[in-house]
């Protein structure tokens, strides 16, 4: 009984969201409004238990790591975001987090550029590796902004565009597949778990 009621509640909200497909209506608006509230509300105890207590309360008040008072005060400065005159204070917690971009410079050069360069330098001993090579080079040329895409060079970059489009086609096809799978999952819940039509 308990399960039936729970499933019915879940099904009600599932259908409320789907009802948007027909048109915007109070059920959808209600479900959506509730969803926004519940999502945020769900996060509050989680953040309190898993972030505030272990990272702020316990180390400061029980572990006596008083230096952590500084970042927690910095964190409090976030709240000045909505003040007219003091909103500049809220920059501090933001810029503190921005500092880590420094690591991004060498790290992204290393992992997205150098490592990828290595795997692009394969011996051109089969048709496919040669094609991959041509694709990589022409796409890179396409993203070269100092020269107009004209003449022979333009034809070259055009090849890059074709390669990219075929690649995007693959992403496209698989994304379509994934989205349909998700719908299948919801319908399996509605028709199977809730109504019991699938056995």
């Amino acid at each position: 009984m308990f399960e039936i009621i729970s499933n019915t509640v879940a099904a009600f909200f599932t259908l409320s969201i789907f009802s948007f497909l027909y048109k915007d209506n109070p059920f959808y608006k209600f479900a959506e409004a509730l969803f926004v509230g519940v999502s945020m509300g769900f996060a509050i105890p989680l953040v309190y238990e898993n972030a505030f207590i272990p990272f702020v309360y316990t180390p400061i008040f029980l572990g006596h790591k008083f230096s952590l008072i500084i970042p927690s005060l910095l964190g409090l400065l976030y709240t000045f975001r909505f003040s007219k005159n003091l909103s500049w204070l809220s920059r501090y917690p933001i810029v503190f987090g921005m500092g880590i971009v420094g690591m991004g410079v060498p790290m992204s050069i290393h992992s997205s550029v150098l490592v990828q360069m290595r795997s692009a330098m394969l011996p051109l001993d089969t048709v496919n590796t040669a094609l991959i090579f041509i694709g990589t080079v022409t796409i890179l040329l396409y993203f070269f902004f100092s020269k107009d895409h004209k003449g022979v060079y333009g034809k070259f970059t055009n090849v890059g565009v074709w390669f990219m489009m075929i690649g995007f086609g693959a992403s496209f096809g698989y994304t379509v597949m994934a989205r349909i799978s998700l719908l299948i999952g919801r319908i399996q819940f509605l028709v199977g778990d809730w109504l019991g039509f699938i056995k």
């Binding site: 009984m1 308990f2 009621i5 729970s6 509640v9 948007f20 915007d24 109070p26 209600f30 959506e32 509730l34 969803f35 926004v36 999502s39 945020m40 272990p54 029980l62 572990g63 975001r81 909103s87 933001i94 987090g97 921005m98 971009v101 410079v105 060498p106 790290m107 050069i109 290393h110 550029v113 150098l114 490592v115 360069m117 290595r118 692009a120 330098m121 394969l122 011996p123 051109l124 001993d125 090579f133 990589t136 080079v137 890179l140 040329l141 993203f143 070269f144 902004f145 100092s146 020269k147 107009d148 895409h149 990219m164 489009m165 995007f168 086609g169 992403s171 496209f172 994304t175 989205r179």
Partner: protein, 986 residues
């Protein structure tokens, strides 16, 4: 449809929240007494050190919808504390007939995370004895310390520098000194049950709606000290030309209280007697346990008091665990060689002897393995040890690894598959293990032969992509592969492996067989790498490696907490008391520990105390009556004298005593101790697991170039840098060198280009299709008199795409202001909101039209992804926007917007670096900025020297990359791989 939304909403809200209360009320009607669990038992865990109990009970049927069982323990039946729970799946319930809960070994007792106060367990009757977990309040938890074996894990620095010296009067009227520490100085306190003590346990069930059911009648459990487990694998071998016995055995699963590994020799005709002895010892153990619970049980007296087998080997095997599991015993003139060993063996008739292995524990129990008989082999049957091996500090790390590498690389086949129906084209996968010395393999030759030895095909694998393709003249059932590795270091040798490929009926494919090197099956013999530091008595296993592996990184952690027992406390001051002494290393011959104390005064007192004992025993020896008694006193006296000698003569302690301030002294000792703990010596055993093994001597090399601390401190550790290796923290990671060079080149280019741009040099940037269309699109909106929509992405301000989107917004807003066209900017992120507002405002000012600026044109919709999109769609439909821009980071929701936009007939221009969304933009929008074009566009539009300069720098870097890729590919096609190898692999 005019509904009263307010009423409907409140009603629906009420309905939903009523459902939420459902779990709380759903069990109102049940009879709680049906939910009391049955058959609760607390049983001793076998083969342990008397610290373990296992609880079991019958699970409630799944109809009862239980989600967990909560377990409580206490030393009296009137107060039981929560210790843990067993989770259950509500739908399926528990599969078996029993639920188990193990209360074994050290587990969490108290830490900073414990609750502040003791709470009575809720939803139980008023006088229930159930409480929550032990609280941080020492006035409640402190008295419990004595009911358990408590192990405290203490932060190293806190132990050394945060302690408070505490003196307590002891029973003898003297004072004992302790180090007092607060709970926050501990990583945690862990408990183990005390042997032979009564503990009470109870359990209750929690239903799906978290209703706590009544608890079961508490049961008593007593943990008993048991004999160690029986080792199931034990092998013996006699190496005839070395006149040596070799043994190997499997390690114990529970080793916490094991102290010694022993091996005995039994003559075949003593076997029966030995078996009786073993049986009687078991019976004796059982009898002792029985007599503990029931005093009326008669005492069992064994008929054979002494072990009829002769001890031939004994070695300490306690902490640190993972002891050596092989032993070699030499025989000289028919006598076993060994300290305190007195046994004869007739090697001519070795088949007349059996061997037995035993594990001993701290309580003196001994468990014997089954009897093993030795096979006879000669030295040439033993596996080969590496001719070449090296140990040193691993470079490029923070100083927590030593590296060990040996021999040359190994390549082997892993898998095959047919590429065509005729089974004549096969793909063979291979893999290889290399090491630091042979970092770059020059090439691997794969030569394929058929059964008759005809060479079918061969591949020169100069670029190792781990797969090969072979063409066969006809399908084959069996093939042979010769694998030859050529390295860049000593290249001239022929170093060849053999491996078979045999057709397997079951998998219908060719399967690789054993890898052979010089007639030896490589993977039959594993490498065990053992290590030992200055502060432990015996070797421990660091890692067991497959026979084909060639390198091992030994982790040597920085984290060295102190482990201490705790039983005393002061609830008022909130202090827990621990023993202030700590060991620094073992002495030179590893017979005793060199220990110091947090307080120098205690060291002096110790000398005083030991001297008293020495005097005491000298007196006793003089008056001793028997020789045995005399020997006992003598050894006790020797022990105390030895302790005095260490304190007085050990160089470290002598040096420490010179400090007059305890803090400086402890600081010095901490450094010294670090070397004692973190410098390791290594040896290697190569074995088949059945006593056919070869053991290397301890590795030694020339003096290492990098050593820790000062010469003065290192002087306490002879052998450091030659046999003992200490991991050194490094200041530069050499594998990041390419990244450093690339960063510098890139940074330099940025500087140069910005400089040039600032000097007014005209830097050309080609037109980007989508950007060119921006003005037209704005113009169109103006013509139609409809507003423009601009969505700056859905992610936060730290996203590069958002930054690019915002900078494009500046340009679009300015143009719109010039044309006097309304712009609408919905925002999802509340940090982006004020920034976007500012940008639009400034754009109007710049365009000279501050009067047309509408404060509400930039607005926040909601943070919820899909609700945001629904909001944007609403704006599109209501405002009939003529041009839509989507610039920034988008996720799955993007399609919903663009589809709707295309339905309203708006011109749409998108730009994102989210690769999965680009295809949808391309197919639904009129123009799409792909990936980098978005970044470029923002610079292009800004027309600032700083932005254009950076864009050009990126462009030239890209040109460099392109050049490298082209050159690298061409070079690797003609078998030159040096350029590839200059780039990092991962």
């Amino acid at each position: 449809m005019k509904l009263n939304l307010g009423k409907i909403s409140s009603l629906m809200l009420l309905a939903v929240f009523c459902f939420v209360l459902l779990p709380i009320n759903s069990n109102a009607a049940v009879n709680p007494n049906d939910y009391i669990i049955e058959e609760l038992q607390a049983k001793d865990v076998p083969n342990d050190d008397g610290g373990g109990l296992v609880l079991s009970w019958k699970p409630l049927p799944k109809e009862k919808r239980i989600i967990e069982y909560r377990v409580y323990r206490g030393v009296t039946a009137d107060s039981l504390f929560y210790i843990g729970k067993v989770d259950v799946n509500v739908r399926t319930g528990v599969a078996g007939n029993e639920v188990f809960f193990y209360d074994t070994s050290y587990n969490s007792f108290l830490s900073l995370e414990s609750p502040a106060k003791l709470k009575k367990e809720k939803q139980q009757e008023k006088d229930s004895p159930l409480y929550g977990t032990f609280p941080r309040d020492l006035s409640i938890t402190g008295p419990q310390l004595k009911n358990f074996n408590i192990l405290a894990v203490i932060n190293e620095d806190a132990f050394y520098f945060k302690n408070k010296k505490v003196e307590i009067t002891n029973d003898d009227g003297g004072t004992d000194v302790y180090a007092g520490l607060e709970l926050r100085h501990f990583f945690g306190l862990y408990k183990k049950l005390l042997a032979d003590k009564e503990y009470y346990y109870t359990v209750f069930a929690v239903t799906e709606s978290r209703k706590y059911m009544p608890y079961a009648e508490p049961v008593i459990g007593i943990a008993r000290e048991n004999s160690p487990e029986k080792i199931d694998k034990f092998f013996a071998t006699y190496v005839n030309d070395a006149n040596r016995l070799q043994f190997e055995w499997s390690r114990a699963a529970f080793a916490d209280d094991n102290t010694d590994h022993s091996i005995y020799l039994i003559k075949k005709n003593d076997l029966a007697k030995f078996e009786t002895y073993v049986a009687e010892q078991k019976q004796l153990e059982k009898n002792m346990l029985d007599r503990m619970t029931d005093k009326t049980v008669a005492e069992f007296v064994p008929t054979i008091k002494e072990n009829p087998a002769k001890l031939i080997f004994k070695r300490y095997c306690g902490y640190p665990y993972n002891p050596v599991n092989t032993a070699s015993v030499n025989i000289e003139d028919g006598k076993i060689v060994g300290e305190n060993i007195d046994a004869q063996i007739d090697v001519e008739n070795i088949e007349n002897y059996g061997f037995v292995f035993s594990l001993q524990d701290r309580a003196g129990y001994e468990t014997f393995s089954a009897i093993a008989y030795s096979d006879i082999i000669s030295l040439s049957d033993l596996p080969s040890l590496p001719e070449y091996w090296e140990i040193n500090d691993r470079p490029d790390d923070k100083g927590d690894y030593n590296r060990i590498y040996w021999e040359k690389p190994v390549a082997f086949l892993t898998n095959t598959s047919f590429l065509n129906e005729d089974k004549t084209e096969i793909m063979v996968n291979y893999d290889f293990f290399s090491n630091s010395k042979y970092k770059n393999i020059k090439t691997i030759y794969f030569d394929l032969y058929d059964e008759d030895g005809n060479k079918l095909d061969s591949v020169n694998e100069y670029y190792q992509d781990k797969k090969l393709v072979f063409n066969l003249p006809e399908p084959k059932e069996k093939l042979f592969m010769k694998i030859t590795i050529r390295t860049k270091v000593d290249d001239d040798e022929n170093y060849t492996f053999d491996q078979e490929l045999v057709f397997d009926e079951q998998s219908k494919s060719l399967m690789p067989g054993e890898l052979m090197l010089d007639g030896e099956k490589l993977n039959d013999y594993a490498y065990s790498i053992y290590k030992n530091n200055f502060s432990s008595q015996e070797w421990r296993l660091s890692k067991k490696m497959m026979g084909s592996q060639r390198e091992f990184f030994d982790n040597i952690s920085y984290n060295m907490p102190h482990y201490k027992g705790v039983s005393k406390f002061d609830a008022e001051k909130g202090l827990l008391y621990v023993d202030p002494s700590f060991s620094i290393r073992m002495n030179a011959d590893k017979s005793a520990s060199v220990s110091s104390n947090l307080y120098q005064s205690e060291m002096d007192k110790a000398v005083e105390k030991y001297s008293k004992e020495v005097a005491n025993y000298t007196e006793k020896i003089a008056t001793a009556e028997t020789e045995a008694e005399k020997a006992g006193f003598q050894s006790a006296m020797d022990y105390y004298q030895g302790q005095i000698d260490i304190i007085k003569n050990n160089e470290i302690l002598k040096k420490a005593a010179e400090f007059d301030n305890d803090k400086a002294r402890v600081k010095f000792l901490k450094k010294v101790k670090e070397i004692g703990n973190r410098a390791f010596e290594y040896k290697m055993v190569r074995s088949d697991g059945k006593a056919h093994f070869s053991e290397s001597s301890t590795y030694s090399s020339e003096m290492a170039t990098k050593l820790p601390y000062t010469e003065e401190i290192r002087a306490f550790y002879p052998g450091l840098g030659t046999t003992y290796f200490f991991p050194i923290p490094n200041w530069f990671s050499s594998d990041k060198l390419p990244a450093l060079i690339a960063t510098l080149i890139f940074g330099l280019l940025v500087f140069i280009m910005i400089f040039q741009a600032k000097r007014g040099k005209n830097l050309y940037v080609r037109p980007i299709a989508g950007i060119e269309e921006i003005d037209n699109a704005i113009g169109r909106a103006t013509e139609m008199g409809k507003p423009i929509l601009f969505v700056p992405g859905l992610s936060g301000i730290s996203d590069v795409a958002t930054l690019a989107g915002l900078s494009i917004l500046g340009r679009v807003a300015k143009k719109a202001a010039e044309y006097d066209t309304r712009i609408l900017v919905p925002v999802r992120d509340f940090i982006v909101l004020p920034i976007a507002q500012e940008i639009v405002k400034e754009a109007h000012f710049e365009a000279g039209r501050p009067d047309t600026h509408d404060k509400n044109s930039v607005f926040f919709i909601t943070t919820s992804q899909f609700a945001f999109v629904a909001g944007v769609n609403g704006v599109m439909v209501r405002e009939k926007t003529a041009t839509n821009f989507y610039m920034g980071m988008f996720w799955a929701e993007a399609l919903i917007m663009t589809e709707n936009g295309s339905a309203t007939g708006a011109i749409q221009i998108a730009g994102t670096d989210a690769v999965t969304q680009i295809p949808f933009f391309i197919t639904t929008c009129d123009y799409t900025l792909i990936g980098e074009e978005l970044y470029a566009a923002s610079a292009y539009l800004a027309k600032e020297p700083l932005q254009i300069g950076t864009l050009k720098a990126v462009d030239y870097t890209k040109f460099l990359i392109l050049a490298f890729i082209v050159v690298g590919s061409i070079l690797s096609t003609v078998h030159a791989t040096f350029l590839i190898n200059a780039f990092p692999e991962k």
